[in-house]
Subunit: 243 residues, 2 copies
Amino acid sequence: MPNPTAAMLVIGDEILSGRTQDTNTNHLAVKLTEAGIDLREVRVVGDEADEIVAAVNALRARFDYVFTSGGIGPTHDDMTADCIAQAFEVGISVRADARAILATNYKNPDKELNAARLRMARIPDGADLIDNPVSKAPGFRLANVHVMAGVPTIFHAMVESVLPTLTGGEPLLSATVRIEAPEGEIAAHLAQMAKASPNLSFGSYPFIQNGVFGSNIVVRGVDADRLKLAREELEVLALNLTA
Amino acid sequence: MPNPTAAMLVIGDEILSGRTQDTNTNHLAVKLTEAGIDLREVRVVGDEADEIVAAVNALRARFDYVFTSGGIGPTHDDMTADCIAQAFEVGISVRADARAILATNYKNPDKELNAARLRMARIPDGADLIDNPVSKAPGFRLANVHVMAGVPTIFHAMVESVLPTLTGGEPLLSATVRIEAPEGEIAAHLAQMAKASPNLSFGSYPFIQNGVFGSNIVVRGVDADRLKLAREELEVLALNLTA
């Protein structure tokens, strides 16, 4: 059975303007790979409701899991929860359980849990809450869409909350062999190996370091024995090319 | 007249598996913002021809400029050039000008410019070459799609080659005010400012630093005077909230 598939949707003008380097995608990618879930597509869109709704609907129809990052804070540019409700055509309102969780964050909830903060307790109908041990305001899951915060420390904590609820597949194993020869010297051999082992995937990731052109060859697959054989063959190739 | 729009398409399994943190998007985003071109969407797809073709066609129809990164090297997993040809329904073949450029990279082109390397001279019909001062193998532009390498040093160099050919808009200016108070304390004031100045965009980017919750407020717009007024108002807000 093939592994479950996933997509990531990063929401926020700050990524598109270049102000902020997105790192949440890489964090999620590593965690999903460990869990045997194949991240197949990533999209980044800005703080525009139509764009967010369209992306959510495109991705949730095509992949087993969708994860979003960003846009669930208390300010006017935080519109993800409303967009999710719109995408699923369900209602959205301040929910008692989310409000109660938020209240625990304030010494004087009557005064400090103001209108802006209460926005963070607006949850689309039918969603389950995602625990946020860092700053309380919860994320939520609706069907296969997991809605999480953009601040990396909070995103990471929410991913940890979510991971045990996902159905993973066979963990994808990988082996990397560094070859200090240009890709063009390796390509023919590599294509031949890829053809001979259709159950493994062979990636070539070129680098330039101190003026030396080389490539990291990454072999991926779920069969540890075949992976080992491929790694050994590549190690011999590396020795021959740099000898 | 609104600024031209752009999309970025990152191609490569290594990004989706978490092996590699994509930094090309952030580099391009900064350069486009400086040039007055609005990056509106980013997608990451793996080394799958159907996915690449579909993404290229979706993005080139919707945005003024499309930029791609990755998949133009000599190995079997480098399939971007063929996918671009397929997306545009044009032919692709080894082109004499690209071959001549590649040949300058080798002392003995007859021997060293092997079949794998010649793949890098395969250019879709009708494309212009994009200069690669780092490792010679060119990128190319076909209509509004700019196809560049994934290795960051080469990607950066190709972006420099491409920038002078783009039609920019008014550079988007920005001002950032750091407020050491939780977003929930700022949100109402910020929403009011955003409503009063529809020509400026107000983003709130929360952080947690040494246990302190705060937010960087970023105001963006093309009108320097209005931007200055907004910054001053936010600075007063910051003083009042942390006094």
